[in-house]
């Protein structure tokens, strides 16, 4: 079904593409918001990514790879939005409070802590965590998406995790939470 939509969209069927876009928007937005920490920038990035995707879809050889390809397009557009925003101003960005589906109060607290810690990470650290741990990309795929060597992804990932850990520790010290669950 999806493959069929991709093939139709690739041959210029705007309706098919609109269906694909409709089923991807929430996920793309989630990724973009994680990357950019700003709802409006994220929406811009999603729009831009979908328009670019429509334009370049004919170049996608394997319709089954549509999703991964679309994510790569989004990450690049997100980068661009972030760069544009950095140039524009140094205004503070705030992550929109996310709707959580916790399975327990303890988990809720943990996730709130991650939420707070994640927001404080540097953009390149957030991106690499999203690519690896949300989109499930390999180091190599993440490297090709961001245009950096695989080794850079690995070291960035290590630094990102270390930063996340230290943010969580700082958060825990502040709130008196036990550290076992995050070590």
């Amino acid at each position: 079904m999806r493959r069929d939509l991709v093939e139709r969209a690739r041959s210029g069927d705007r309706g098919a593409f609109a269906e694909l876009a409709a089923s991807s928007t929430a996920r793309l937005f989630n990724i973009a918001e994680l990357m950019l920490r700003d709802r409006y920038l994220a929406e811009d990035a999603v729009q831009e990514a979908l328009v670019v995707a429509w334009r370049d879809l004919r170049g996608l050889r394997n319709p089954d790879a549509f999703e991964a390809w679309l994510h790569r397009v989004l990450v690049r557009c997100g980068h661009r939005e972030a760069a544009r925003e950095r140039r524009r101003s140094a205004r503070t960005l705030a992550l929109t409070p996310a709707v959580q589906h916790p399975d327990s109060a303890a988990a809720l607290e943990d996730r709130d802590a991650i939420d707070r810690a994640f927001v404080r990470l540097a953009p390149e650290h957030r991106v690499v965590l999203v690519l690896r741990h949300y989109l499930g990309m390999t180091d190599r795929e993440a490297g090709s998406t961001l245009g950096v060597p695989t080794g850079t992804i690995r070291s960035r990932l290590n630094r990102a995790k270390a930063a996340l850990r230290s943010e969580l520790e700082a958060d825990a010290r502040g709130s008196g939470l036990a550290m076992e669950s995050i070590r």
Partner: protein, 409 residues
Amino acid sequence: MTADHPLENELETWLAHRTSTPSPEILPRVVARIARVDQRPGFLTRDRYDLGVPRIALERHVAAATATLVVVLATALAVGLGGVLRPSSSAFATTGGLFAPSDSVAFRAAVEPVAGVPAFNWRAGTYAEYLGSGWGWGAVDRLAVAASEPIDARGLENSPVGSSVVRVHIVVTPDSFAAPTVLGPSGIKSIGEPVDAVVQHKGGWLTSIERHAGSASYTLTAVIRIPDGAPGELNEATLRSAGTSYPAGILDTYTALPEGAVGPASRAVLEAVRAAVPDGLDAANPYDLARTMEAYLADADNFTYATDVRAEVAGRCAGMSTAECFATIRRGYCDYFATTMAVLLRESGVPARIAYGFLGGDRNADGTEVVEASLAHWWVEVYFPGVGWFPFDPTGGGVGRPHVLPQGR
């Protein structure tokens, strides 16, 4: 995910469960934009691809890349997902300093082999509104036109006058030009399938014709002017004597210029053109002015054809309109030549617009024609009362193809 990695475990759980709802406006905006995004041939640019779109896409889908980047303005729209997409929106293209077409085939055509039918440009649409850094459709309406129904646009849009016209059937088969835009000579009469005619909201002037879907072949019927030397043939004298009794409203739309469109350098070019009008002709006559300007701009002594002027634009054109920029750096490609001519004509009170599409390919004896993406082109159309829109092509470097007319009396 293992117990050895509680942090990753937590992170992945958090990421997987974290949801947040995007604005419901994203999708309609995207749909409106994609409906517009391929309005002109060559909306893709190398610049654009530097954005980081995968290389594979770049190699295979630089369809008819010209220098411009179509940015799209979407206004109100009504979308039925998976159903009919009818955005009411407007396209525009900005000129970005680089013309980098691919070597792909944009489309193929078969022109009914009627004796005397000349090579012609394949027009995709027209821009009415000069934006300083590019051109836009302006406010447009969409009119549904049934298969084979005459496209009845205003102002002799598609009815070449004179006795020497012929009606031909054409089949167009898109290749890398996969937009829903109908390509054809300027005198399209009807399309063999239902289409939307995009017309100016004010005045109804033809802007573009869009198919509803698909990139399969389509057929059209067009009226084409034949240079046969017959007494009724359109000639220079007719255009020269067309006068300036323009139909109501045309001046409002087609002589409008934004503030700053014409600066000192472009004003100097206009003065030089006026001074170059040959003895015996009249710089105040729209036809004489346009013909002289066409030749002046195309003259290599005055302007140089160059496909990459990004460095000059970046270095010398800060804050300038494209016309003023071109008059300053004196280098550029079709977008610059055509823009400057249209702007300077408007400045002189002559209604002019940009036509975008493709130069004609080499046509075989059987009427078949292959049009390469590299033939993507902009030219100028000037309105003459009683005649309609007539093409001029001021692009230099041997690229432009001025439409030659017999003198007449």
